[in-house]
Amino acid sequence: MNNLKNLLNGQKGPIILGIIIGFLAAIVQGFTISAGGPEAYGFCALCHTRDLVNGLLNISLGTGLGLATVSKAAILPVMTMVGVLIGGFVAAKRSREFRIKHALLKDILVYFIGGVLLMQFGLLFGACPYRAALRLGYGDFIALFGIIGIIVGVWLALLMIMRSNTGGN
């Protein structure tokens, strides 16, 4: 058990999870395609959040908000992000890393608006970074432009942060 802990904390940890997500997403796709797809939809932090929110609103309020075919057809929308919260909480509790970190009013505004905006950009592209990788792996080369965009965006943000830190003249 300790060996596994060191392995995940170490250099190879993310590689192991990357392989797990790649295969898990393909397995999940074997099931979601049966309920209506789309392809490369085994895991997506953005789209699955959208499906969960809009799906539950559609069921409870009778609204017609957009969501993926699979979540429209199934009795409940995809539950991936609920699972991520449960899995993350269990892992944090077990490793004694669970700590309430409070947010200042400024943080609340920045993070809330950040969340709203990121959802708009992500859904226009139709993927988060992870589904972008799944789509590219499935042979969708439009997703490659999205990944290039993400890298450019990260680079631009770092440039802006470094400028403002060095005085910004």
């Binding site: 940890g13 999870l17 790649g22 397995i27 392809e39 809009n54 947010a103 592209f125 992870y130 789509r135």
Partner: protein, 188 residues
């Protein structure tokens, strides 16, 4: 007569039966359960490893650290290997693989707003990616990382997740119509 029906069913098997590993009737019940389990596994390991795609690009550009970037690359490669293996084992469930060859090089897998041109999808992918990259750096992580940090008790990330929840609704009430109209008006 029974033979005719059987032949008909066999020929039209792909139309009568849903593609995929199980029947549609079973899938509509199992999908929430299976995605919940897969989410738990991903969430657990993401907390243990600090997995983050945008963090991977950030660490590499700033410090040439490759730990998180390797995770993203491993995911990309294994996503391809996994669908290749499953496509060979169960072609019906992965019949549109490889997408670019079957559906065309510049047609996207559904997800972005429907009925736009290839050029529009490339522009949306670039703009969407740049937007996600910039915001991701400023809030210290991609959407998955924000969910995991929320599970670790970080209330800033909880507000980010709240923003995503509200953003999901706003997208369909405002953004999708606005952007689709913009592209149609520009003739792209």
């Amino acid at each position: 007569m029974a033979g005719v029906t059987h032949d008909y069913a066999f020929k039209h098997r792909r139309k009568l039966m849903a593609a995929g590993w199980i029947s549609k009737e079973l899938a509509v019940i199992l999908v929430p359960v299976i995605t919940l389990i897969s989410g738990c596994i991903i969430g657990y390991f993401a907390q243990r490893t600090g997995f983050c795609a945008i963090g991977g690009f950030r660490d590499y550009i700033m410090f040439r650290h490759t730990r998180l970037l390797n995770g993203f690359i491993a995911m990309l490669v294994s996503a391809f290997v996994a669908v290749l293996i499953f496509h060979l084992l169960t072609p019906l469930a992965f019949e549109n693989f490889p997408w670019a060859i079957i559906k065309g090089l510049l047609s996207p897998i559904p997800g972005a707003p429907p009925d736009l041109s290839s050029l529009a999808y490339i522009i949306l992918a670039l703009i969407g990616g740049i937007g996600m990259g910039i915001i991701g750096v400023y809030v210290g992580g991609c959407p998955l990382r924000q969910f995991v940090m929320t599970a670790e008790g970080n209330l800033k990330s909880l507000w980010f997740v709240m923003g995503m929840v509200v953003g999901s609704v706003i997208f369909y009430l405002v953004t999708v119509g606005f952007v689709t109209g913009l592209f149609k008006a520009a003739g792209v």
